[in-house]
Every structure is written in C-alpha cells, then in structure tokens.
Amino acid sequence: MPVMSYIQAVTAALKEEMQRDEKVFVLGEDVGKKGGVFRATDGLYDEFGEYRVLDTPLAESAIAGVGIGAAMYGMRPVAEMQFADFIMPAVNQIISEAAKLRYRSNNDWNAPITIRAPYGGGVHGALYHSQSVEAVFANQPGLKIVMPSTPYDVKGLLKAAIRDNDPVLFFEHKRAYRLLKGEVPEEDYVLPIGKADVKREGSDVTIITYGLCVHFALQAAEKLAEEGIDAHILDLRTVYPLDQEAIIEAAKKTGKVLLITEDNKEGSIIGEVAAIISENCLFDLDAPIQRLAGPDVPAMPYAPTMEKYFMINPDKVEKAIRDLAEF
C-alpha cells in the first residue's frame, strides 16, 4: 500500500471523486492555478479545467452560498475555506442555509456541499491561522463535522463527505498536512461519517480525542506502555453529531476518562462528550472526567513561547494520562 501524507490523501480523495462524478467540483480562493495555499488541490486545475477547480473572488460567504446554490441544483461542490479562521464570514450561509435547508423544506431540497478548511495550530500561525472552530458549528443540527486524524481516515472520510447528501464541514489539521504519513489504499473506499474509531485498545485509561491530538495521544500511549500504563484511545472522527454509543462504550471500558482537544477548554466539543458520559455511565466511572485543552484565551499567540504554552503536545498528554492512571 502506498504511503501518503495527510495532505496527499486530501488531494487523492478530491481527484478520485472528481474522476468518478462529473458533478463534483472544487471552489475557493487560490485553489485553481496555484493549487491552493497548502497545495491541497495541486494538479486538479490542469486535469479538470478552470470550471471544476474554480478560483473564486475573495469572499467566503459567496463561496459557501454559491456552493449551496449549486448543490441545490444537484452539483457536488467542495468549497475550500483557505483557513478555518476565515470561515466566519460564511457562518450565516452555513448555519442559516446549509444546515436548515432540508428541514425547512420538509425534505424537498437538500444541499450536498462539502466545506473543507485547514484548522489548528503549532505552525506559527498566530491568532488567525491557528484556530479550532468546530465548536461554533457543533450545535447546529443538519450539519455534520468531520475531523480526521490520519491519511487513511482523510481519504475515506472526505470521499464519504462528498457523497453525503447533506452538508459536511471537513476540518483538516494543517500541521498534520505534512507531519503525518501513513498507508492509504489506492482503491476506492469510504469510511462512515458519524462513527468514532478505536485507534488503540487499552485497559487503564480511556482517551477520547480527535484530529492531531490523536497522534499526540498515540505517542504518549506508546511511552506509557513501557511503564505499564495501558491507554485506550477513541478517535471521534466525526465531532458532530457525536457517536454516543462509542463514547459510552469507551468510557465504560476503563472507568477513567481523559478528554483532549486543541481548542479552548470552555465550550469545546469535549464538554459535550463529558456530558454524554455523565448522563449515561456516571456510575461506571472511577475518577472525575478529566479535560486537557487549550487555555481560555482567544487563540494561540505568534511568539514561540506563548504558542508552545497554548498547544497540546505529547508531554502534556503523557502527564495527564499518568495523573489519571494514578488517581
């Protein structure tokens, strides 16, 4: 099986879906001739031409809104927001329109649009090129939010998102783009949206997380295994709506739960995960539910001292697991 980087898996999924279905097209800022500022759409302009890899004017609400309109007609737009931080001007189109279209029309209309955006920090991106924005959308029925953690998951989930008949926000960790590599089948496959995935079986402590933090958790778990601490790692994969069953099962498995997000702590996705656990399996717990997250400051600063202070890393995860194991 070929080894691909996380971003190569993005490109592969886009390319294969565009080859498979003529209705699939990409639109966004600099996605065409330049192939995207991260080069996620590299080569697609040459292969599919200007209209299927459309450089749009610099206007996110139009990117989303025009995409939604095309999707209502029956196209399969894959819109790129250049950075997740710049999705904010498109919030009205996403929340008021895409999320509510099927419901408000009593199933008459739907918007099969995928909106991709690179999120996350640790890349000297400062306040506006580092954010995790999923919590803004994770209270909007009608939307699905996918945040993959490996190249394999990227390809299978992005294909599933494009084929999904409802709007999907697909957040890719920009630091993972070139950092993470892994085996990715050349053939076509899709992974189920809405299902979490056990990334490591273990019996002492349950870690529930998503995105790049899965990678940090795996690294920490390897190290702790040497000390005899056996971590169970559940990768949420889809952060909205959450896979309640998998969360409950994972929490029950060890009775000690550590939730991790790179986002600010208060109001993040993992608060909802904690709520699900405390509503459904409180008496299976042997320790308070722990949360490891970014501090509650607007976003991570540029200076390396402060950026490092903000970011989750394997050491912070390791310490949190060890503390919980010893509880």
Binding site: A70, N92, R104, P141, D166
Partner: protein, 330 residues
C-alpha cells in the same frame, strides 16, 4: 400609454390577461390572508401588495418551465406564475402538514417547491442571492440554457451577500438576473436611510454588469427589462441587475403598525399608482378587458381563494413528533 405596448413586446392578448389574472390572484390571496389574520385564524401575514406588477411582469419574461427562481417573502406573484397554487399558499398560511413549501415548518411566504424550481428560502434576508448565482454557475457548468432569477428588497441590497453574490456573477458572467423590488421602505426605514445612491441599479457598474431602473408598477416595463436580461444571459453575456420601483401598500407585516413612521397621505398617493388598477385600465383601453370578463375573472379568483381557504383551514397539522424528521437524509 400606447394601447399596443404589449404587442410590440411580443405578448399576446391571452398572455396579458394571464398576467393580470396572476396579479389579481396574488392580491386576493394576500387580502384574504389579512382577513384571516385579523380574525385570529392565522398568526402572520407578509404582503405582496404593491409589488404584483413587478413580480408577474418579471416571471412572464422567464421560461417558466425551465428557469429557476429564488424569490423573497413578498413574491407571491412570482411563485404563482411558477406554478404554486392558491391552495399551496393557504396551506402554508395555516401551517398545515400538506404545505409544499415546508410542511408547516416555516412562516408563510417562505417559499420553496422543487418541482416548480422555486428554491427554498429562509428568513435572513439576501442569502438567496448567492444561491441563485450557484444555480447559474451550475447552468454554465452543465451547458444548459436556463437562467436563474432572484429577488430581494432594497433594504436587503445592503447585506454583504448582495455584494458578494453579484460580484461572483459578474466575474464569471453567469446567467442570473437579480431584481431588487424597491418598495421604498425596509420595515420603518425609508430608502434614504438605507442607500445613498440615487438608484439601486447604480450598483451594477461595480460588478461589471448592466443595471436598469424600471417602473415596478408597470408589468410591461418590467417584462421588457427582464426579457432583455434573459436574452443576454442565455447568449453568454452575463448577469443583469434590475431595480423595480414601487411602493409597499400595506404595513411591513401583520405585526407592524406603519402609522408610527409614515403618513397616510404618502400611502394614499402611492395607491393611485396601484398596478392592479393601472394595468386593468391599460387592458380596458387596449380593448382586451371589459366588465364582463372582469366579473368572470373576479368570480373565478374568489372561488379559487375560497376553496383554498376552506381546504387549508380544514387540513390537519403535522403530528407533533414529525418535528424530528428530515434533519438529515432518511
């Protein structure tokens, strides 16, 4: 008014009578809804009154079996012209399960009906503009000959989505026609407090597209402008912005009292230009409409409105638990 204007536009006598009927039907449904609201039978009305000419004139210039429309909440004339029925509209006003727009989920006048290519609309204004542009983009990509048509109020033309949508359409020369229905007010705020430009159509040049301001009380003037715009669109010459100027004859909605912000004289003055009368006069002068036909039309419309009202009033609501359906594909 020259009595042969409609002919020089290529419209037959039957077609203009059809236009008049559609305008009148819209008006009569709307009036009935106010009565129902004041009688406590339906919670909310938002009117087309004063804008029927623009809506129907524009619609008849489109290909009503192929083009897509993204109407806004006052566009009863547009949706009737595109195949929605009085019954459909009354079902929506009563919020009944059978309402094809939303199954009673949305407020009335939040139109949408896929089979008639009426894009589903929401309450936040102007979001429909990029949608119509997206449909036009699809037309381009699929090499199809239809156009999309989108409307909004003049106040709503100040939203960012207007700018972003029209700019997108202009850059890619997409087959989309935007019609701003300038009724001089956005709830209580008069046009001077909304827009400093002399005309809303002055915005077109900034998007590299032609812009026209037409008399929104004259269905033929609007017909002509939209017809030409449609021709340009299907010839690959891109989008057009049209401003149809009329007046909002009712309060903003059944929740509004317009006496707090505008005076009766102004409204009375506007009523003199009410297209329902002026167009009838045109048709009479053109020898197409006479008292007999007028009575016939009125009777027919009354019957339609009565039947629609009765049907809708007696139709069932959606079941409570059906509120859980259709969040995602099922």
């Amino acid at each position: 008014m020259s009595t042969k204007r409609h002919e020089s536009l290529g419209l037959s006598n039957e077609q203009v009578i059809e236009m008049y009927k559609t305008m009148l039907l819209a008006r009569k449904i709307d009036e009935r809804m106010w009565l129902l609201n004041r009688a406590g039978k339906i919670p909310f009305v938002i009117s087309c009154q004063g804008q029927e000419a623009a809506q129907v004139g524009a619609s008849f210039a489109l290909n009503r079996s192929e083009d897509y429309v993204a109407p806004y909440y006052r566009d009863m004339g547009v949706v009737l012209a595109f195949g929605m029925t009085a019954k459909d509209l009354m079902l929506s006003a009563f919020a009944k399960a059978e309402d094809p727009n939303s199954g009673g989920r949305q407020m009335p006048s939040h139109f949408g009906q896929k089979k008639n290519r009426i894009l589903s609309g929401s309450s936040p204004v102007t979001t429909q503009v990029p949608h119509a542009v997206g449909v036009a983009l699809a037309a381009r990509m699929e090499k199809k000959d239809f156009v999309s048509f989108v409307t909004l109020g003049e106040g709503s033309s100040n939203q960012g989505d207007f700018h972003e949508g029209l700019n997108f359409a202009g850059v890619h020369k997409l087959p989309v026609i935007t019609m701003v229905e300038n009724n001089k007010y956005a709830i209580s705020v008069p046009i001077e407090k909304q827009i400093a430009a002399e005309k809303v159509s002055d915005r077109a040049i900034g998007y590299g597209m032609p812009g026209f301001t037409v008399d929104g009380n004259d269905p033929l003037a609007v017909y002509e402008a939209v017809k030409e715009a449609r021709d340009r669109a299907v010839n690959g010459e891109g989008p057009t912005l049209i401003e149809a100027v009329s007046y909002r004859l009712t309060a903003h909605s059944s929740d509004d009292d317009d006496r707090t912000y505008r005076n009766k004289e102004e409204v009375d003055e506007a009523k003199k230009k009410d297209s329902i009368f002026t167009f009838a006069t045109y048709l009479q002068e053109a020898g197409i409409l006479n008292d007999e036909l007028e009575t016939e039309i009125n009777d027919e419309i009354n019957r339609i409105v009565n039947e629609a009202t009765d049907y809708a009033e007696n139709a069932p609501y959606a079941e409570a638990e059906s509120a859980l359906k259709y969040v995602y594909e099922e």
